[in-house]
Symmetry: C2
Subunit: 208 residues, 2 copies
DNA sequence: ACTAGATTCAAACAGTTGTTTGATACACTT
DNA sequence: AAGTGTATCAAACAACTGTTTGAATCTAGT
């Protein structure tokens, strides 16, 4: 293993990540990846044992980043009332989705894996989705003032979760109207909207 | 044109619809379609001029059905206060999504076209999404008591819309937990939840 | 019965896919 | 300087893609 070897391996990894995120596993060819990474066609098989080997490694990196997003949301709301915890969760999520430049491909990648699953989806569900929803459900149970297995908890968590998801890269919204562009300013406005909208909804559901 | 001719044409159409909905345009081969429709490999090219010709025709049928869903939602809320119009919209949408048996492929098909667009997406946006969102935004403007171009209108419409979308067939939810099954009973409960949650959110956003 | 047009079919087409191969170039140790 | 193991490369591989072809089959009109 030499320094140059790791370089081509890394180039394949990042080229594959961007292409898989943009077009999905099936529509990206090994030749596309190698052309973008300036490597030979056989390089993917040599370094990763095949196309799915490269995909699995890209997915592992994406999973690690998303786990850190969940952790960041948790820390941002630590030792605060549940209302602030929810607001922190929404804010961290939205800013990571559109903000952090060189990680923006990850959320597009995950969204694609969820709508068009490969066998690797189970890993994502177990290691990312379930812990994240468990944290969100904990906040909901506090806000609703009811046990965590109350059916209202899961429903409110869903309502919050999908509003956050809707801010991800989405081919429809971008073609609908220029008013749906995601800039840092509209992002803060959207965080406020989702938090206020959802907190009012939760309070009403919690009531008599 | 004879009766039997229309039969194979129709078989191709329905086989293509189901397969396109389940796996997407790229992952379905014309040989898959013809095998399912018990027709020769050349049948697709003969009757539809090619794979995309068949896809376009499937999409047109889906567009017509979705337009009728929008119309049904509009009629269900006609001459009622905006709160009831919103509830009717959510109810019609959810019942059509999971309810009507032999049309259930349509929503899966549309969801796939939206997350993994073909050139035909523009037709869907113009003829389905925009009219539907325009109707929903009208209700929002009434509920908020503000002009329709107020930024809060689009945001609230988004919040309602994505909660409805989340009830569509979704590979993640079905693998998460059996608690997310969509039966006629949970469907009514979900309609109530989304309507109550959203109306409270809208009222809060409309306030001072 | 015969023709004309429409439909079906097996076979083959050219292009692309992921993967394999064997030779070559390279850096490092002995 | 010879040897060793790793990495790259052009070329070829078999399998699969959508589409075309030309003959065979069928139906309807005269």
């Amino acid at each position: 293993m030499k320094a140059e070897d790791q370089e081509t391996r890394g180039r394949l990894l990042s080229a594959g990540a961007r292409l898989f995120a943009e077009h999905g596993f099936a529509k990206v060819t090994v030749r596309d990846i190698c052309r973008k990474a300036v490597a030979n066609v056989a390089a993917v098989n040599y370094h990763f044992g095949g196309k799915v080997g490269l995909y699995d490694e890209v997915l592992q990196a994406a999973v690690r980043t998303m786990q850190s997003t969940t952790e960041a949301a948790r820390e941002a709301g630590a030792q605060q009332p549940p209302e602030q915890q929810l607001r922190a969760y929404i804010g961290v999520f939205l800013h990571r989705v559109v903000g952090s430049g060189h990680d923006s491909w990850i959320h597009q990648f995950m969204l694609r894996e969820m709508s068009d699953p490969t066998p690797a989806l189970d890993i994502v569900i177990e290691q990312v989705i379930k812990p994240r929803m468990a944290y969100l459900c904990g906040i909901m149970a506090e806000l609703l003032g009811c046990p965590i297995d109350d059916p209202r908890v899961a429903r409110c968590a869903m309502s919050v979760h999908v509003q956050c998801l809707s801010q991800m890269h989405n081919p429809v919204a971008s073609r609908m109207s220029p008013a749906f562009e995601r800039t840092p300013e509209t992002l803060d406005a959207m965080t406020d909207h989702i938090a206020r909208f959802s907190l009012a909804g939760i309070r009403d559901i919690a009531g008599p």
